[in-house]
Subunit: 233 residues, 2 copies
């Protein structure tokens, strides 16, 4: 195992305000690992024995129901914690984590949690804040699914993706990991057909550009108008 350097994580919001000593303490308990594209880093309902910090790449958090239908709960970006079941007192993971591209992450064994939080309380509060944000986002999603049409939901989702995981290009902002129409459908509670039709229409209007597993938002402003436009009620 290579020794891990504090500079790996010192810049992340989660670790801001920590001393070098504290960073070292956290890092010396972690191991760093590579996860190739499409690998399941952990599986839904599997025994939760570790928690993670994504250093590089993108991770898809997926839930399956008993009929095999799948929903994408969120994507994890570099600098974010994931798999922190231990912080919620859970024994199993509530969802699967799949590497959307080749990833690098730090992993801590759950047994280290009491020590880490005792010694670096800011780490614990960062984790709890993360959970709070996820709860908030998930409740926002419920609200959107209750009150918005499919068109608005897809537009909102695209805008969120480019905002959180966008990469500037000559043509606009591109979602910087491969994402299929099916994936977008599973994030918004619709079908790939409907997503494809919407993207085609938006491409004709010059709002987005598409490609196989690629989406570029070329006119975020007008896409936002679509996202905010209410038709229901």
């Amino acid at each position: 195992m290579p020794e891990l350097d504090g500079s790996l994580i010192a810049g992340l919001p989660l670790f801001s305000g920590m001393s070098k000593k504290e960073l070292d303490f956290l890092l010396c308990r972690a191991r760093s690992a590579r996860y190739p594209k499409d690998l399941a880093i952990f599986e839904q309902d599997g025994n939760a024995d570790a928690f993670f910090l994504l250093l590089d790449g993108h991770i898809r958090v997926v839930r399956l129901n008993e009929d095999g239908e799948q929903v994408i709960a969120r994507y994890i970006n570099p600098g974010e914690l994931f798999g922190i079941a231990v912080a919620m007192g859970r024994a199993t993971y509530p969802a699967s984590a799949i590497a959307a591209v080749d990833c690098v992450a730090l992993a801590w064994p759950n047994e280290a949690w009491p020590d880490l939080t005792a010694r670096v309380p800011q780490f614990a509060s960062g984790a709890y804040r993360t959970i709070g944000e996820r709860l908030q986002e998930t409740q926002d999603q419920v609200m959107q699914m209750s009150t918005e049409q499919v068109e608005q939901r897809v537009a909102h989702t695209l805008l969120r993706l480019v905002q959180q995981s966008g990469r500037k290009t000559a043509e606009g902002i591109e979602i910087d990991f491969p994402i299929t129409r099916q994936d977008i459908a599973e994030m918004t509670g619709t079908t790939l057909h409907t997503v494809s039709r919407l993207l085609s229409a938006w491409e004709d209007m010059g709002l987005v550009r598409g490609g196989r597993q690629r989406v570029i938002v070329t006119d975020a402003h007008n896409l936002m108008l679509i996202a905010e436009h209410r038709r229901k009620r």
Copy 2:
């Protein structure tokens, strides 16, 4: 302020395994209050300055969007914590809490949180477990809204309500607080019209009995068959 007795809360799962001394410590920092029906105990986006434990009654947790459309996130039952924004490092409440009936609750000022958790760590982990459960439930709801028809969602919601807040009667299990068709619609992402039609149909089939702001499930078994019955795909 009346002095609070340990027996008030000793029986609750959240406090199991605590010593009398710990219970007293928690209670002496809390104040007990009555909240009449329809009162907002706290408001969405309001400054979070306290957290609560419901002793008696039922509380509706409601989120409003910028268009004034409202969604019911959950109902709180006796023995549950609510308004625990402080545990997630939040400065404001993400939703409003409305007393569905006359309620009694304990309230702790947020300033007491560090002391309480330091002195009674089980209390903190109980709070984090609660948050984890709510996140899980909210994600389940997203999954249901993505994969189930309205009929299944309403059936699931009724079953959950009678399971969590049911009261046995001669005819079946009654949801033991007033709940309108509109409320059920706001929990399931549909309209009161559709809920009314479904309940009428189920009443004809002998599965439920209704009334103004009342729902009694008379045949949970067959209602469960409806809830599990998949039509999509």
